[in-house]
């Protein structure tokens, strides 16, 4: 390989280059392209999914998930950091990124999604039920919620069930109250503004919605947005998505990653390794010889390589 002395002055041909002109031309061309394509195709404008739209479209699924929040059986209830300590979270060997980050956004789904919103409602029956719930022991609450969740799941499309044996305690009244609150749109507002008066933090409604495989998960699957559908690359409707994320998405489609509980951590580590490889490409043996074997640069600068000056 030819050694180049960086201290030596360039002795090859030189020519003027108008960088400002090039930037102006690039901005104008890209601007015209962006405006033209926006007029031609517009942009995705999918209607927002809310707790109100959820309970309206799938009331039985809403009731089951809300009961699951009380029973502590949903995805967010058992997620671990940054929301709670219910699980250690994802890890790879000694690398425990989720655990190391700790609980930074403490959320107790039973309280945050059900109990606290009901307490600010004007539903006297639901508030009385919440008070009964709060007065009971944790063991008793678990028994009520698990029994009602099991019964709702077994019943399929029922949104409320009778309790002849009094085994569900105040749970049916709480879930009925929460469903009515959600149907009126008040629950969306309550979860958005429970930490701040500005409705800008969507963490709670998003977590609650994400616990629903039956409604939210089905909506994502229908639009090819699922993790196992190259979803991170896709967009709603027929618009092109983020195709440059293909390599991130690729790992989620194949084993052992797609069936691993630690897929996110492992794939992040693989991508970090590949990014380092890209950064240090000129230092990697074999890889750094590729331009000599496939000289694309010689095709780009073919006139220079054909000129007598290049051979000196």
């Amino acid at each position: 390989m030819m050694k180049v002395d960086p201290a030596k002055k360039w002795s090859g041909p030189m020519r003027p280059y108008d960088l400002v002109k090039e930037i102006v031309v690039a901005i104008v061309v890209i601007g015209l392209l962006a405006c033209g394509l926006a007029a031609l195709f517009s942009s995705p404008d999918e209607k927002a999914v809310t707790l109100k739209s959820w309970v309206t479209a799938a009331p039985a699924d809403f009731a089951q998930v809300a009961t699951g929040e009380l029973a502590g059986t949903t995805g967010s209830a058992g997620y671990g950091a940054p929301y709670n300590t219910a699980a250690k979270g994802q890890h790879f060997g000694f690398i425990k990124l989720q655990d190391w980050a700790g609980v930074r956004i403490p959320i107790n789904p039973a309280n945050s999604f059900v109990v606290e919103p009901l307490l600010i409602s004007n539903d006297a029956t639901a508030i009385a039920a919440v008070n009964t719930w709060k007065a009971a022991t944790a063991d008793q609450r678990g028994k009520w919620a698990n029994a009602y969740e099991g019964a709702l799941t077994k019943a399929g499309d029922k949104t409320t069930l009778p309790d002849p044996n009094n085994s569900f305690g105040p749970v049916p009244a709480m879930i009925d109250g929460l469903s009515m609150m959600a149907a009126s749109g008040a629950l969306d507002g309550a979860l958005l503004t429970s930490d701040s008066t500005l409705p800008t933090n969507f963490t709670k409604p998003m977590l609650f919605l994400a616990d629903s495989d039956g409604y939210f998960g089905a909506l994502a699957t229908k639009q090819h947005l699922g993790g196992d559908q190259w979803g991170v690359m896709n967009e709603t409707g027929s618009w092109p998505g983020q195709s440059w994320l293909w390599l991130f998405s690729f790992w989620y489609q194949i084993d052992p990653f797609k069936s691993s509980d630690n897929a996110d951590t492992i794939i992040m580590l693989i991508m970090a390794l590949l990014t380092l490889a890209l950064m240090f490409l000129p230092l990697l043996p074999i890889i750094r010889r590729i331009p000599y074997k496939i000289p694309v640069h010689r095709l780009i600068w073919r006139n220079w390589y054909r000129s007598p000056a290049s051979k000196q």
Binding site: M233, S238, G241, S243, Q253, L299, P308
Partner: protein, 61 residues
């Protein structure tokens, strides 16, 4: 409200082969990028034939 000349607000068509699946929109963008890359390789730079002439001018100085 859709004001675009071409309405893309409908379910996408997906091409699947093995574990790979790609939407028509993404495929179109990737093909367009490949075409632009190949065009950039073969379309000559403006004044790109001036290498030897410029060198001669440099030599005369």
């Amino acid at each position: 409200m859709q004001l675009a000349l071409i309405n893309l607000n409908h379910p996408a068509h997906y091409f699947s082969f093995g574990p790979f699946a790609i939407s028509g929109g993404n495929l179109a963008i990737i093909i367009a990028m490949c075409v632009i890359f190949i065009a950039a390789l073969f379309i000559p730079f403006p004044h790109s034939n001036n290498f030897s002439q410029d060198d001669k001018k440099e030599d005369r100085k």
